[in-house]
Structure formats: C-alpha cells, structure tokens
C-alpha cells in the first residue's frame, strides 16, 4: 500500500504528463533509452528519480498549489522539459562511468509483461449454444504507477439476470479504487434484487443459514479482495438491504435507478465508515485511506439486449459497431466528467453560489486540483472543513503526518464539490453492436476512440474481415496474388500473439508508431521504463472488452418486434 499517496492524479495534469517519446522536437530521449536499459544504470536512475518523485508527492500546501500551476497545460513545455533536464544531467554524470550499451526486451519478454494481468472469460455454452447476449470478455491492465491504482471487476448476477463489468481508476492511492472494485457490484446487485429475495437473504443471515450467492466473480489471480474489511463491508451492505426491505415500494425495479442508488449509497457508506472509525487500528486506517483517496468508476450492466452504462468520472465506455460494409464505428456510451464536458461545468456552477464561479474550475481542474469532476471517496472535496479537521485529528498518526490529507483545497466554501452519482445511459443492443470497450483514461488519452474500435473489431473478427482482398475488376495474376497472400499471412501471425483483445489493444496503445502499427522497438522501450519514470510517459491502463453474441441479440430483437 502506498503510505504516501502520490497525488499525481490530482496535482499533475495527467494528460500533459505523457512525454512524446519520439517526437521530432525531442530527440534527446531517443538516444537516452539504450542507456537506461542497462541494468546498473537502471538501478542508479531509480535513486535519482526517487528524489524527483518525492518532490512531487510531498509538497507543502502552498508549494503544492504553485506546483499545479506550473504543470497546467499552458505551461506544457516547461513540464515536458523537466524530466529531460534531469536526465540530461544524470546521463552526463553517468557517461563517464559506463559505456552505453543497447538493450531491448525480447518479444517473449515483452509478451510476458503485457500478458501478466490478462484474463479471459467465456460464457459457458449449453447444448452447443450460448444463450447469453454476451459471448465473453477479455480484460487486462498495464501498470504505470507502482503499485497500480486502476482496478477492474467482472461478475455475473446470480439472483437476477445480467452481468456486471467495471473499470475503476484510483487517484491519491489505490485504496478507494480497491474498495469500490470489491463493493460496488454487491450494492448494485442488491439494488436489483426483488423484495422476496432480499427477505430471503436477510432471513438466512438472521438464522445463520447459508446465504444465497449473489455474485459469481470472474477474477484474475491478481485481483484480490481485502479479507480484513470484509466483515465491515458486509455489515454496511446488510444495513443497506435492510433499508431496502423497509422501503419496499412494491414497484418493479428500474435498472437505471438501481445503479444510481448503488453508487450513491456506496459513496455514502465509505464516507460514514471513515467518520465513525473502527476500533481495530488497521481497519480504522484503512477506511480513512479509502475515504481520502478517490476513484472513478465506469460500470456496464448487460442483461439480454439491455445495456446500461453507469459512469462516474473520466473512464469511458465505447461500443464497437460494425457497419453494413464491414467497417467499424465507435459509439460513446458515457460522457467524461471533466473540464472538457461543458455540461459538467454548468452542473458544478449551478450547484454553488455565483461568487465561487471563477474558483470552481481552474486549469481544467475542480478547485484547480482534481481532474475528474465526479468520483468516489475524495472526502476532501465533500466534507466540511470542520469535519475534515476533526477526523484527521482523531485519526491515526500516519494520517496526521500526511501533508496531503491535511491540506484543504483552496476556495473551499460550500462543500460538497464532488459527487459519486453516476450518469446512466441505456442502450438497446442491436446485431451490429459487436463489442464494448470499458477502459480507464490511460487508454483514451493515447488512442483515438475510432482507432480503438477498429483495432478491437479487426482483432475479434480475425483477419478475414480485416481487409478482405477482392479482385474486383483489377488485373491480378496468380503469382501476384500468391505473393500478396504469403506476405499477409506472415503479417497476421503477429496478431495471433495475443489471445486476448485487451492485451492486443494495450500492445497498440503502447507500441503504435506513426503508421498505426506496432513497433516492437518502441514497445520494448516503453515497457522497460523504470517504475518511477513510467508514469511520466503513460498512465495505468485498464481495459475490458466485452464481446456480444449477435445471434442472440438478433433473436431477442426479433422477438421484441
């Protein structure tokens, strides 16, 4: 766990923190990388960079504010030059000692890095047929932070129909993202349960009987659940369903409402747990870390042809649509909650007095600090100053010593400034909707959505539909065709390195050159960046690619007609 949560997400404008590795304007890093590959130097560099890192993390409040100004987009160049300057000095120093040596990761090494977190799930078939509208999903994540602050979840609802999938992008540490990834689906599932099932579950708990399983998780071995907090989490959840039972309206459950309620309720519970505290000091510290860190969430609920996307923050859900001519187009199923979204700015302004209008959004950040405009946790943007001070003072020493938590955002007059309430979009799946990409902003800032959809689409349909060769009216000889086909086949074999669409996408996101094809050299360089540097060039990337079953979707659609 990150004791000193790196506030990069908050302090450093993420979008500008990616350095153009190979842009013409910056030739320096290009010849710098072979050096870094050298192990010995790598170790030394980490020492140098550590200072750099620390410098960014543990700023005192005024310095902090100043710092984010320096990193604001209009000062992009200054930002970009910083690490380079460091390196130049560093390389200067080192060049006396060590001879530059070329070192690249071999393709198998690259693959083992890319595939370390990949996970695939195929919906089981019955009687040779998959009756679900989902064929399965591929997911993967590539860390840039150490440890990674992104989380992902996928589960099948066992008491209702449908499947839940989500990506969570944490900031100021991973505690909040971790908690949300463990808990949110339970809140959603419970919100969707009919009254009778809730009663049944409550009775089972009451009489100590075995509980009906609510979710079947589809987890990568690296996706862990916190054992220590499970009791605490369970009690909060139980209180929630008890309230739902008491509230029983008898109305049919609306998925959209259920999603919104679940999001808000979980955020509320996170906040409450932190205020109440826990007698166990470990847990007490945990709930505070969860509440003081933050996380965005982008969750898909798929039930037959009904696709609901609930989004809080700037992760994104993108639908891959195959047009009649076989080409691919992207359909946004979420809106980013950030400064690029006019409606969000309007919303925030409408929620606070006119006097604050100028200070609400500065340098494209909420109160000049936070990039996403909606998030879980982040009580610093939700609680009153009094409450924050009280909790921190009564909290454990670690918390008290942490400059970041103690720091109160500037112009903090009428909290809350931040909400976890999601925007929910409902979409009826059509046979041409082939897949859904859920990904954290780490992907979207490196790739255009159209490219994302095209790459996944071509990957999923295989080479056959990629660019089918048609002779048409052209004059082609057998020999020419043969050459073309053999050449294509060797090219395709590289695609088949990936058994996972998400991995394939990450390969492109990280390794794409200016021609849109994967450049192994570039990929190798990007992946061998030392931990401390990686964050400069890319963000954590988490991707889930859900593949839909067009046959089932088509059949459902026909039934409805």
């Amino acid at each position: 766990m990150c004791v000193c949560p790196g506030p990069r997400r908050i302090a450093i404008p993420v979008r500008s923190s990616r350095l153009p590795l190979f842009s013409d304007a910056m030739p320096a890093p290009t010849h710098l990388f072979p050096l870094i590959r050298n192990c010995e130097i790598g170790r030394l560099s980490s020492a140098v960079c550590y200072c750099h890192h620390k410098h960014l993390c543990c700023l005192s409040p005024p310095h902090f504010a100043h710092n984010h100004l320096r990193y604001a987009p209009q000062k992009k160049f200054a930002t970009l030059h910083r690490p380079k300057e460091n390196f130049n000095q560093f390389i200067h120093a080192r060049s006396y000692v060590s001879t530059p040596q070329k070192f690249y990761l071999t393709p198998p090494q690259v693959n083992s890095i890319l595939k370390a977190n990949e996970y695939s799930f195929k919906v089981p078939e019955f009687d040779g047929k998959n009756v679900s509208s989902i064929l399965g999903f591929d997911s993967n994540q590539l860390p840039a932070n150490a440890p990674i602050e992104d989380r992902r979840s996928a589960a099948t609802c066992l008491q209702t129909r449908g499947m839940l999938l989500g990506v969570f992008d944490g900031h100021a540490g991973c505690a909040c993202a971790q908690a949300v990834s463990e808990r949110l689906f339970y809140y959603i599932a419970v919100s969707l349960l009919p009254h009778e099932t809730l009663l049944e579950i409550e009775n089972a708990v009451e009489s100590g009987r075995a509980l009906l399983p609510i979710l079947q998780w589809h987890k990568h071995p690296n996706d862990y659940f916190s054992k220590e907090a499970s009791k605490l989490y369970f009690n909060s959840l139980r209180t929630y369903w008890q309230e739902l039972i008491d509230l029983n309206t008898g109305e049919t459950i609306d998925v959209k409402e259920a999603l919104i309620n679940a999001f808000k309720r979980l955020d509320n519970d996170i906040s409450l747990e932190a205020q109440v505290g826990d007698p166990n000091s470990f847990l007490n510290y945990l709930v505070l870390r969860v509440a003081f860190s933050g996380a965005t969430a982008c969750v898909a609920h798929v039930d037959g042809v009904d696709l609901h996307i609930a989004n809080t923050g700037d992760s994104r859900a993108m639908l891959g649509v195959q047009e009649e001519d076989g080409s691919w187009s992207a359909l946004n199923l979420s809106y980013d909650h950030n400064a690029q979204n006019e409606r969000e700015i309007e919303r925030i302004k409408s929620e606070h007095p006119k006097a604050e209008e100028k200070s609400l959004v500065k340098q494209d950040r909420l109160l000049g600090l936070l990039m996403p405009f909606r998030a879980f946790g982040d009580v610093k943007f939700k609680w009153s100053i009094d409450l924050q001070k009280r909790v921190i003072e009564s909290g454990p020493d670690q918390l008290n010593d942490n400059e970041y938590t103690k720091f109160i955002p500037p112009n903090y007059h009428t909290p809350p400034y931040l909400t976890a309430e999601p925007e929910v979009i409902h979409h009826k799946l059509r046979p041409q909707d082939k897949f859904l990409v859920l990904a954290t902003d780490g992907l979207w800032e490196t790739m255009h959505r159209q490219d994302v959809v095209r790459i996944v689409g071509e990957y999923l349909t295989g080479v056959h539909h990629q660019q089918p060769i048609a002779v048409g009216g052209y004059k082609v000889t057998l020999g020419q065709m043969h050459c073309l086909l053999t050449e294509r086949r060797t090219r395709i074999s590289s695609v088949f390195e990936d058994q996972n669409a998400a991995t394939h996408l990450i390969r492109h996101a990280v390794g794409n050159n200016e021609f849109g094809t994967v450049d192994h050299e570039r990929l190798s360089k990007m992946l061998s960046l030392p931990e401390e540097l990686a964050r400069m060039y890319r963000d954590d990337i988490t991707i889930i690619v859900v593949q839909f079953n067009s046959h089932v979707v088509g059949a459902c659609q026909n039934e409805e007609l």
Binding site: I469, V476, L478, H482, L484, L485
Partner: protein, 859 residues
C-alpha cells in the same frame, strides 16, 4: 451459364403457373439431385410428379459446382453410382437436345507418396474388374498427358480415360427438361415451409403458394435438407452440414487450354484442377474448413459469402507448386460455393425411419455431379420397387439415428470430414470428433486400463488395450496399409482368449425386447424370422430377418425369455433400421409390446476356456456344458448381483459366455469378474481381437459380409432356415426357389498362402478374387488369424459365364476346384478357398489336410 439458363424454357415463364392440388410425388429441390430423381421416376413410369424449387432451377450448389465427373471412388456403391452417372451424362445431350457441356477429358490422380500410390492402386484394381478403364502411370507419362504439370515430386498417378467434365447446371436442366417431357410438373420460385404428416405417413406439403397433397415426398434440398427435415410435422433427422468451398476461375491462358485437357486431382496438395474456357478452374479441400449455416439459413451469412483469399492461400500455393507456369495467369474470380457434408463422408438416401413416404437424397460431400445420375436412379427404384437394385445400406439414412442430428455434433464432425476427402483412406480409420457420446458404464475403468476406442453408431467400443509402459504411434503416423503397430497387442489378447479368458465390453449391440399378452409375439417373430423360434424357454436362436428376396435385413440372436417374450440382439448400427422394419411389419396390436432396451444392459463377453471357471466361482452354479449347454440363456446371480442374463455364446465361435447385466450392476459384476478371473489369467480385450477370432471361425457379420442382397443359402446358413417350420415367413418363397435352383454366389473363406505379414500389403475389404485367373467376386472382410498365422479373407464367389458374362450357379464343387488369388492393390496372392470353418477350436494346430471340409454342426 447465363445463356444456358435461357434454354430452360420449362419453368421460367414470366407468370407463375398455379400449383396442382395433389400429386403422387412432390420433389423438393431443383438441383442435380431433385431433377435426377424426377427424371428417373418418370423413366420408371411414375408420371404424377411435382418438382418444387425455391429459387430457380439448378441455381444452388449445383450451379456453382466444378462439374467434374470422376469414378475414382473407394466405396463400391459410390463407384457404381459415378459410373452410371458418367454414362448417363454422356448420352444426355443426344436424348434431350440440350447442351450439357459434356467433354471426355480423362482425369489423372497424382500420388506424391508411396502410400498414396497404394491407395490409387487399390482403386485401380477394383475398377479393372468392373470394366472401367484405368491405369497406373509413371510421372513421365503424366507429363506427356498434361502440358503444364510439374512432376518432380510425384511417384506415380492413376489415369482414368473415361472421366469427364460437364456444365453441372446444364446437366440438371437437361434432366429437368427430359422429366417434364415425361409429364413431371416443375415449379420454381416456390418454397416448401413444411411437410404434412398424418399417422406417420406423408400426406402433403405446405408451400408459400398453397398446399399440395401427396403420397411421397422427396427431400433433395441440398444444404437446406437438414432444416427442411426438422420443419416437418414429424421431424426427420437428416444429418448434414454445409461448409464453405472455394474454387478459382482464371482467364484463358495465352495459348488457351484444350477443352480435352485432363482434369488433375492432386490429393496430397488437396486440390483439383480442370480446364475451363481456355483457362483453369481449381479448388480444393483445405485442412481448416469453414462450416456455415450452423444455426440454419442466415441472410447475414449468405451475404457474407465473399471470396476469402487468405483462406484460399494454401490451395493457391499447392496449385502454383503443381503448375508453376500459371504464375502469369490472370485471375477471373474466386467462387465461394457452400457444399454439404455428412458425418461419415457418404451421401444420404432412403426413406425416413419415422415418416413413411418421406424420402431423402442429399449430403453429397462435394461429389454431387459424379453421384447425381446414379443416386437419382437408385432412389427412384427404391420408391417404385420398394428397394433399389444395389445394396445401398452404406448410404441409407437409417444408418444414422437421432443422435447424429445435434448441430454441435454436425458442425464439429464436418470440420473433420471435409479435409478427410483428400486424406489417405487407410484401414481402421476412426473419427476423432463427436466422440464419447454413448458410452458403457465401464468406460472410465477400461480407459484407465489402456483401452483405445473406436466408435460405432455413436457408441464407444474398445479396439484393444495398450499394456502399461507400452506406447503406440501417434494417430497420424499410425496410418498404414501394412502391418499395424497394434499387431502384437491384439495377438496377445487373442492368445489369452484361446488359452485362458478375456473380457470384452460389448454393450453397444442393439437390444430389443418383444413381448405380448398371448402368442402374438411368437407369431409375429415366426413371420419375420427364417429360423424356428418356437423353442423351449431359455434357448437362443441365431436367425436372419429376411426381406422378400430372402436377403438379410438383419442378422440376430434371439432368446426366448419366457413363453411370451423374446430378447433380441442385433448389430450396433441396426438400432434404427431393425426398429423401423419391426414396426413396419408388426400389426398395430396394443397387446404386442416392442421395447428398445439397448441402454438398459451392459454386455460383457467372457471368451475363453476358463470363462466356465470364472462364472461358476462367481455364481456357485456348475457351468460345464452338461449343465449349461451351448446356446442357452439363464438368469442367475453373479457376485452379489442378481438377475444377470448369462448366455452361452460369444459371437466368435470360441467357448464362453455373454453376460447381459442391468447397468447399475455393471461395475460390480466387472470388478468381480476381474478379481476372480485373476487366477485364471483374465485380461481385457477389444474388438480387434474379436474380429480376428470371428473371421478365422468363418463367422459372417451383418453390415460387413451380409447385406440385403445375401441370402442364408448363399452363406452356408441353410441350417438356420426352417422352411418347414409350419408357418410362412418373409423370404420363404425366394429361399425355396434358391434351394431348388442353387445359388449364384457363395460365401467363401480364403487363407492367403504366400503372403508375408510383415512385408506385404494387408488385405482390407473389397479386394477382387480371381479363380483360375478370372475375376469371380470381392472380399467383404479380412483379418489376421493368429492361430493359423495367416491372413484370412471372407468374400463372395460368383460364376460368370466366360462368353456372356452372365452369372451361373455356384456349386461347392465349383468353389473347391479352383486356384484362387486375391488382388491387393494390384498384387495377387495365392489363396486357399474353404466353404466351411475349421472344426477344431485350434487348441493345437492341425495339419492342413485334416482341416478340410468338416461340416458345421448347428453350434
């Protein structure tokens, strides 16, 4: 092709003629199959026929198929169909005045390996005896016959001078034209939604343009036959599945190819190449087929039937390797034309077991044009005469059950079948997909003990047991025409059943129980079976279920369980056929009950001299022949399990017992048998051992040796026919006549004399038999006899008049006074003919002259 379509004046009038309200026959499908059936029905005198086509005539697979007519086929019935088709097409233009594009080009099948050459030589030796010209030629001769071919990697080829090419759509139109001149009504743009059935009989069809009442329905819907079958009121399972199939058309060569340029079949390269309008047409059967339409007709998929060059790449490489000179040839088109394939690579014809009057002809496995004529003829004969003029059991729809109709099964199986078209056809091939569907409760136990499995009618049966620590070759490497790698393993299993005792799981056999309140069961069985079944309770009777001509529809063992009920054991693949036959001939009497109990019993066969000891120890009942004579059945306890049907027979002629065990006791009985049997040297054995045992004992098996055209008189089983049993039975008249006039073929056993088991090609089945240098028949099965240390072939000997070729009566004298040779892939081996099995049980080897002519006493 476009111009030829205009010539189809029959049914392309701008307005649609209204449909008749009724007809005797409705044929669905205007492709080569439908038109051929209509053509032949009309020829046979049936005129009241309506042919319906959903699109236009000859517009489906027929229109797009490559149009190669070749008789190079392995299965004899397929060869006969192709031969007939070829002759039919040759004179069709003359008969109808419609151009069919028929051109005798000859064909050359290339061999890149010695094994392939052996395979081609086998075809050549069967063609020779049928009078079809063919020749094995050298690579040099290939180069002389074809201008473009690269021969550096060839070892030989099969040259078939009579093979031809046609324009398949035009052939189909010519057949339709001739049929309509004979009174057949043809309606296109009419699709059938379903077939009407009442009381298990076809009554009509429902089309998008109204109803037609009919007596017979023929499903020739090609790749849609499966769907159409299911949409019938009483579903008819027609197991076939479509795969995409690609071929290439090119512009003419600089010096256009002669229209008589031979067709090239390069099986090792998986391609065929024929001349086409001065250029070439070349397609093939790739290793990774693309099945299509699994979920039925799908407009999306139909639209997506694009050229797929990447998929075609391996075939294009093979083409350019074979004809490097074509590099500069310009492409015209890559055609994607789905073809339908069946689970066993053989086409499907015949009447539905569930719906009377519902006939099927479909699933041509890419050889529709070659089979079209012959298949249509046989089906027409079947409908008109009740049975075709040849044995078509290998193609009969009833060889399948409902178990082959799963879409998943079909999809997986056709992906294996399509590449097999080009693979080497070796003996003892087992399909790898669609397995482990029906298994005995002992499957896991046997598998753990090294069982290797084969599949029959979906049922897993052990072939042999690989001893621990021993390993066999991988499947692909084990393909051979010579001595197989399991030779010693099976040898030791045979030895064990000769000297000690072996246990074989034979649960796959079809088992029926027939019972009644009074004497009805006996009555109906006496009428259906040729042997006398009015035997004391507990007796087992071997008997044939014969047709009117006295031929075997089934060969079974029947146990009289009590006065009014019988237990019937038939071959595994008889499950559908036998059931249909019984149902068809049984009176609809509610007091008569027929039940399929196949799944209720596990059958263990204890073969060997010590089987007696094992069983008596397990049951505390004396099992010696005095107490338990041969061909008896007793219900008794084995171990703790009660009610086991123990029968003193083994299907091999060896001493021993069959145990029919209610499945819940199967594991217990097996365990008891194995643990008690240990001290008697018991071991597991499989069907290969059984096969060797039964063939050296001259036991004929239905489906391999016996068929609907074989009578008991022809295979030395007069003793199993009781002509004077007091009641009439089906086939009695035919047998009476045969008894008087003598038989025209005779089941004979051959022992190969100068055959070296280690070095010579092994016989399989279908090898020509020569007597004094003249062709007299073919073998039907063969096995190595570990006791005789010789190969044994079983087969039928005929007597053809030297001048007329007419069949003459075959007497024992004729058989005994001849010098015989068996032709294996062109090489002849001397053989000793025998009409009766060796009398001894081979506990010791006898001298040859002692083995002669011992009569077979009603074992």
């Amino acid at each position: 092709m476009a111009s030829s379509r205009n010539s189809a004046t029959i049914a392309t009038e701008p307005h649609l003629i209204s449909l008749p309200a009724q007809a005797q026959v409705v044929v669905c499908g205007g492709g080569i199959m439908g038109t051929s059936v209509a053509y032949h029905l009309a020829k046979l005198g049936w005129k009241d026929i309506v042919l319906l086509e959903q699109g236009r005539l000859a517009a489906g697979t027929t229109r797009f198929c490559a149009g190669i007519v070749s008789t190079a086929r392995h299965v004899s019935i397929e060869l006969k169909m192709a031969d007939y088709s070829s002759k039919l097409y040759q004179q069709l233009e003359q008969e109808t005045g419609i151009k069919t594009g028929y051109m005798k080009t000859s064909s050359i099948s290339l061999a890149q390996t010695q094994d392939r050459l052996i395979s081609l030589k086998r075809i050549a030796s069967t063609h020779k005896v049928m009078g079809i010209p063919c020749e094995i030629i050298t690579p040099k001769q290939v180069a002389q016959l074809h201008p473009l071919i690269n021969i550096h990697d060839l070892v030989g080829a099969l040259y078939m001078p009579e093979d031809a090419v046609v324009s398949s759509a035009d052939v189909s139109l010519a057949l339709a034209n001739a049929a309509s001149r004979n009174g057949v009504q043809i309606h296109d743009r009419t699709s059938i939604s379903h077939v009407l059935v009442q009381k298990g009989h076809v009554t009509g069809v429902e089309t998008d343009r109204g109803q037609i009442q009919c007596e017979y329905f023929v499903n020739c819907a090609g790749q849609w036959a499966y769907e159409l079958g299911l949409s019938s009121e009483e579903p008819v399972s027609i197991p076939l599945h479509a795969c995409e199939h690609f071929y290439l058309l090119t512009h003419p060569l600089k010096k256009p190819l002669e229209s008589s340029t031979p067709t090239i079949v390069d099986l090792d390269g998986r391609i065929y190449i024929r001349n086409w309008q001065g250029g070439i047409l070349s397609g093939g059967f790739e290793k990774n087929p693309k099945p299509i339409f699994t979920e039925g007709r799908n407009q999306l998929e139909i639209q997506n039937l694009h050229e797929d060059w990447d998929h075609f790449e391996p075939l294009l490489s093979a083409l350019l390797r074979r004809m490097p000179g074509l590099e500069a040839l310009e492409i015209m088109q890559l055609v994607n034309c789905p073809e339908s394939f069946t689970p066993d690579m053989r086409c499907i014809m015949g009447e539905s077991p569930t719906v009377q009057g519902y006939f099927v002809l479909a699933g041509m496995n890419s050889a529709g044009i070659s089979y079209g004529g012959g298949a249509g003829k046989y089906l027409a004969e079947w409908m008109v005469n009740g049975y075709p003029s040849e044995n078509v059991w290998p193609l009969d729809l009833k060889r399948f059950g409902a178990l082959q109709s799963s879409r998943t099964f079909l999809r997986h199986r056709v992906m294996e079948v399509m590449p097999l078209i080009c693979d080497l056809k070796v003996p003892r091939w087992d399909f790898q997909t669609g397995r482990q569907l029906r298994t005995s409760p002992l499957y896991d136990r046997l598998d753990a003990q090294g069982a290797r499995w084969m599949e029959k009618h979906g049922f897993e049966r052990p072939k042999y047991f690989v001893p621990p620590g021993k390993d066999l070759l991988a499947l692909d490497q084990s393909k051979t025409f010579y001595k197989p790698d399991w030779f010693d393993i099976v040898g030791s299993e045979v030895k064990c059943s000769k000297e000690a005792v072996c246990v074989i799981d034979m649960s796959s056999f079809t088992k029926f129980e027939i019972s009644s309140t009074g004497g009805q069961a006996l009555e109906v069985l006496q009428y259906l079976f040729s042997n006398d079944l009015d035997v004391p309770v507990g007796h087992i009777v071997h008997t044939g279920m014969l047709n009117e001509k006295g031929g075997y529809e089934n060969d079974c063992s029947i146990v009289r369980l009590n006065k009014r009920s019988f237990f019937m054991i038939s071959p595994t693949d008889q499950q559908v056929h036998c059931w249909t036959w019984l149902k068809k001939h049984m009176p609809s009497d509610s007091n008569l009950l027929l039940e399929d109990v196949t799944w209720k019993y596990t059958a263990l066969n204890l073969i060997g001299p010590r089987a007696v000891d094992v069983l008596s120890e397990l049951s505390y009942v004396p099992m010696t022949p005095e107490h338990f004579p041969s061909l008896f059945c007793k219900e008794m306890s084995v171990g703790y399990a009660n009610g086991i049907r123990v029968m003193s027979m083994t299907h091999t002629g060896e001493p021993g017992f069959m145990l029919y065990i209610p499945i819940e006791y199967a594991l217990h009985v097996y365990n008891e048998v194995m643990s008690v049997g240990q001290k008697y040297g018991i071991r597991n054995a499989g069907y290969y051992a059984l096969r060797s045992l039964r063939i050296e004992k001259f036991f004929a098996f239905w489906g391999q040796d016996l068929d609907a055209f074989t009578t008991p008189m022809e295979c030395g089983r007069e003793f199993r026919v009781k002509l004077e049993k007091g009641t009439d039975f089906i086939g009695r008249d035919a047998l009476m006549q045969q008894k008087q006039n003598g038989v025209y073929k005779r089941f004979t056993m051959f022992i190969l004399e100068d055959h070296d088991t280690d070095l010579d090609l092994w016989p399989w089945w279908g090898e020509p038999i020569y007597r004094n240098g003249c062709y007299v028949g073919k073998t039907t099965s063969s096995a190595y006899s570990y006791t005789l240390e010789r190969h044994v072939c079983l087969g039928f000997v005929q007597n053809f008049d030297k001048k007329t070729g007419e069949g003459l009566v075959v007497t024992p004298d004729f058989i005994n006074r001849g010098e015989y040779e068996i032709d294996i892939a062109g090489q002849r081996f001397q053989a000793k003919a025998k009409l009766y099995p060796f009398s001894s049980l081979f506990t010791q080897r006898r001298r040859k002259d002692e083995m002669e002519l011992s009569s077979y006493q009603g074992k």
